[in-house]
Amino acid sequence: MGAVRPIRSTAAPIGLHDQAMDNLRFIRDAMENAGSFTAVPGVGGILVGATAFFAAFAAHLSSGSRAWLAVWIGEAFLALAIGLGFSARKARRAGNALLSRSFHRFVFAMAPPIAAGAVITIMLNGAGLIHFLPAVWLLLYGAGVACGGAFSVRAVPVMGLCFLLLGAIAAVTPAAWADALLALGFGGFHLVFGWIIARHYGG
């Protein structure tokens, strides 16, 4: 009889340990898969859209290419701050740090095209070719959002594709349309898709 106890006590704990580890992994995976649904902040998108309209208006009234560029670069930094701030807020409100992991995934997927956009902006500005910038910005931002949103709700990659399409249009239309196209993209698309995400995917 004494020989039975050690057999039970060695076999059972190892099985339970593995099962518990497996359960924790399962919970983490389920949270991660579902977390991508809400990592992108809709309310932040709406706010970015609103500021982009003001930026487009200010850029249109600006005198000279340096002022025009300064307005849009300022808007880019403002949008970045709003996006990061509202993402952190959304993750906090969801009450789980795992959500922020989904957001990190989104940011890391978006970072390369955005970094490429920054470098190309410097290059084109240096070469005096800033009339190409609207198309470059819209195309690269669209590529970033489409890649970053590949595992998110459908609204996010669709928004990326809309930016890509608008970028392609900006590439073949007169430079005078630049501010209107940028307003439509960074203002209009953010407002519309931000509203969809805020309404249906938790803020």
Binding site: S9, T10, A12, P13, I14, L16, H17, Q19, A20, M21, N23, L24, F26, I27, A30, M31, N33, A34, G35, F37, T38, R93, A94, G95, N96, L98, L99, H200, Y201, G202, G203
Partner: protein, 129 residues
């Protein structure tokens, strides 16, 4: 089996009791598990809702890669237990069922996670020797 064994069906053993896992056996910890969310699909539903304020039936079905029937049955059990709240509405003519995690559901998930951690501590293979 020196530890007191609780009657297992309900999530009665709180985290405090389990934090003394050094003195509680792995088997008794396992026995006190919340059977309602211990089932895989129900655990997945609760986990998914813990990181989303609201998910629709279609979204949950897509995230969990399950069937309509399975999701209906298991979400009903969670609803009966008070772990999730279900709201049915219409968007135009399209019916839309929304799921939310309740306070009780969030507490149950946290309790379950604490149970798992206690179980891992109590049954760690290198603990005996």
């Amino acid at each position: 089996m020196a530890a007191k064994s609780s009657s297992a069906a309900k999530p009665v053993a709180g985290p405090r009791a389990l934090n003394d896992a050094g003195t509680v056996s792995a088997t008794s910890v396992a026995a006190s598990l919340d059977r309602i969310i211990h089932e895989r699909l129900r655990l997945a539903i609760v986990s998914a809702l813990s990181v989303n304020p609201v998910l629709t039936f279609a979204e949950l079905k897509r995230v969990l890669a399950t069937t309509d029937g399975n999701l209906s049955v298991h979400s009903r059990k969670l609803e009966d237990a008070g772990y999730i709240a279900v709201e049915k509405k219409f968007e135009g003519r399209v019916p839309r069922t929304e799921y939310r995690l309740t306070g009780a559901g969030r507490a149950a998930l946290e309790r379950y996670l604490t149970h798992m951690e206690a179980l891992i501590r109590a049954s760690r293979p290198d603990k005996k020797a």
